[in-house]
């Protein structure tokens, strides 16, 4: 009986436990509460994935109102994959948070931190499972508002300006989405995404719909930090608490990409998005620019968190590149990289979190000779870095393999070269860290630090392990991604 309510519970559980978390006075209790919930959420997510795999797309009518009148929760294979990503990262990051937050955030704020974390989790999950355009906006705002707060809790004052910058850009993005949804509603009279797509066929060739498309696309692109709308991201990731950077890098932008997928394929359809609006060509160009420019910028960063943030912008470029091909292979490649990059980036940010815990800094110059002091942490960083570069037997290799393959199949060989060139740039910036940590002698005034505690290392290594597992046997991920891409393309062709 309960199993039919899983889609609703998936979102309501973290949403309803957030207020409880606020009431818990002791930070430890709030942490335990958030941890339990995040694991339950993961369990639900796994069950949902199994359900979707067994029975196909799930639809859940909230309030039992039939689809165009009420709000529908709709989970297909792509959505299931996304839920899995978000829930997994949430469940992995929270054990890490216990220790890390204790150090980085003032004690009286930790309850609030976990409240906002759960809200953000609920918001992101809500975005994924909802089938209603306006409901998407609402949950987008839940996740955005909570993420502004989470970022502003970073320990320097620049966290405040980063959060403000994100707030301004994020709100502009959300308002653009709102405008787009309004225009769509104006011409179709409905808010349900599937319903919109059906009614859109009659009015697709109007200037209003074209503008609606443009606005929604730009709005979502701000959220997912597509080059050149990524300006909020480097600061936000750099100055947020370590856990938050890890969580966001793996989920927030990814969910944005998922929304973009939904828009292009489910709502507007390939014929409109890619043929009439040429969004494929535009996205391809921007993605290629992101891959090259952001990677180049990353090379010159001295703050490692910032370096990884720029690397994220570049990696988002990869994912968008796959999607812009609008072929089954391309979309599947994009989704595979979405999944893999979530794991990799999260692991990398977690290992930086370990470093920050002991060192109080993630500046490159402070990390000289660190590998001796924190061998496990640095090993995790190197393993993640190798995956980011895309060396074989890592998950990064699998996604690059598919991406290059998809680009070649569609005849875009310069893109294939660009993808590989950009991974070479990744090699350079990762290697700067490796050289500093392994081959330089620590300076005279460097503190004698210990290895990070196990509660923080285990989550990082779990992700690294998953990453290597995927590198060795990617059939599960690639199977889900291909199935999801197949459904999306099918919806998109109509």
């Amino acid at each position: 009986m309960l199993s039919t309510h899983l889609p609703a519970l998936q979102v309501v559980l973290p949403l309803a436990s957030a207020p409880v978390c606020l009431l818990l006075r002791h930070p430890r209790h709030a942490w335990a509460c958030a941890l339990t919930i995040s694991w339950l959420v993961l369990a639900i997510a796994v069950m949902l994935v199994q359900q979707v795999a067994a029975t196909g797309t799930i639809s859940y009518a909230i309030g039992a109102w039939a689809t165009p009148w009420g709000i529908e929760y709709r989970i297909d294979m792509a959505g299931a994959l996304m839920i899995l990503v978000v829930a997994t990262i949430g469940a992995v990051v929270l054990p890490f948070a216990g220790r890390s937050i204790q150090q980085e955030i003032r004690k009286k704020h930790s309850g609030l931190f976990y409240t906002c974390f759960l809200l953000c989790l609920a918001g992101l999950l809500g975005i994924v499972v909802t089938g209603d355009a306006f409901n998407l906006f609402v949950f987008l705002e839940i996740s955005s508002l909570s993420s502004y707060v989470l970022i502003s809790l970073g320990c320097t004052r620049r966290a405040l300006t980063a959060a403000f910058q994100y707030l301004v850009m994020g709100t502009i993005g959300a308002t653009f989405i709102l405008i787009g949804v309004g225009l769509l509603y104006m011409l179709t009279g409905t808010l349900n995404m599937v319903d919109i797509s059906q009614r859109l066929t009659e009015v697709a060739d109007t200037r209003t719909i074209r503008v609606a498309f443009a606005f929604v696309t730009v709005g979502v692109s701000i959220k997912l930090a597509l080059f050149p709308l990524h300006l909020w991201l480097p600061n936000a990731y750099t100055f947020a608490p370590s856990v938050v950077s890890a969580f966001f890098a793996a989920t927030a932008t990814k969910v944005g990409i998922y929304v973009l997928l939904r828009l292009f394929f489910t709502v507007f359809g390939i014929g409109f998005s890619f043929v009439a609006m040429h969004v494929g060509e535009i996205m391809m160009l921007l993605a290629a620019a992101a891959m090259m420019v952001a990677s180049l910028v990353a090379i010159f960063q001295n703050n490692v968190k910032r370096m990884l943030a720029y690397s994220s912008v570049a990696q988002i470029g990869y994912i968008i590149l796959g999607i812009s091909l609008a072929s089954r292979d391309g979309v599947a490649a994009g989704m595979i990289h979405l999944f893999n990059h979530a794991l990799i980036k999260c692991a990398l940010f977690l290992s930086l979190g370990c470093i920050f815990l002991r060192l109080g800094s993630v500046e490159l110059q402070d990390m000289r000779g660190l590998a001796k002091r924190m061998p496990w942490t640095m090993a995790a960083f190197v393993a993640g870095g190798l995956s980011l570069i895309g060396l074989p037997l890592t998950s990064g290799f699998i996604s690059k393999w598919y991406l290059v393959g998809a680009a070649l199949t569609d005849g875009y060989w310069p893109l294939a070269v660009l993808i590989l060139l950009s991974s070479l740039l990744a090699l350079i910036y990762i290697w700067r860290v490796v050289e500093t940590a392994y081959f330089q002698v620590p300076g005279a005034g460097m503190p004698l630090v210990k290895e990070a505690p196990a509660s923080m290392l285990i989550p990082a290594w779990l992700l690294i392990g998953a990453n290597f597992y995927i590198g060795v046997d990617a059939s599960l991920v690639s199977g889900i991604a291909h199935q999801a891409a197949g459904i999306l393309i099918e919806q998109g062709v109509r």
Binding site: L160, F164, L167, T171, L178, G182
Partner: protein, 118 residues
């Protein structure tokens, strides 16, 4: 001509929206930015409510003897959006207060200069 008569309403609302948008992206003062966002959002609300208007209709509260009502759905959406807007504004202003305490200024250019110095 009918284009003009049928759409000038929307055009004015678009001008209003763009006024707010301009304040957000052109002004370095943080309070002004938040206010710009507020104006931008409020104007979008007006746009939605304009969509909902039905010529000759009344407020969507069912009463005997009235058959034409304005569209209630955008009203519902905007009720939600107003609250969301307030939440954003409150958070933005709270951030401004904290930024002022940390930097001693609420001018984006000055803040930038201070960040560069370090």
């Amino acid at each position: 001509m009918s284009e003009l008569l049928g759409h000038y309403n929307y055009w004015i609302v678009i001008v209003l929206m763009m006024t707010g948008f301009y304040i957000v992206i052109a002004r370095p003062n943080l309070i002004k930015k938040v206010i710009g966002l507020f104006i931008f959002q409020t104007s979008v609300f007006i746009f939605f409510i304009s969509i909902a208007k039905v010529e000759g209709g009344t407020a969507p509260i069912i009463e005997e003897g009235i058959s034409v009502y304005s569209n209630p759905l955008p009203h519902v959406l905007i009720l939600t959006a107003i609250v969301v807007g307030l939440a954003t504004t409150a958070l933005g202003l709270a951030l401004v207060v904290r930024i002022r305490e940390a930097y001693g200024t609420i001018n984006e250019d000055d803040i930038h200069v201070q960040d560069e110095e370090r």
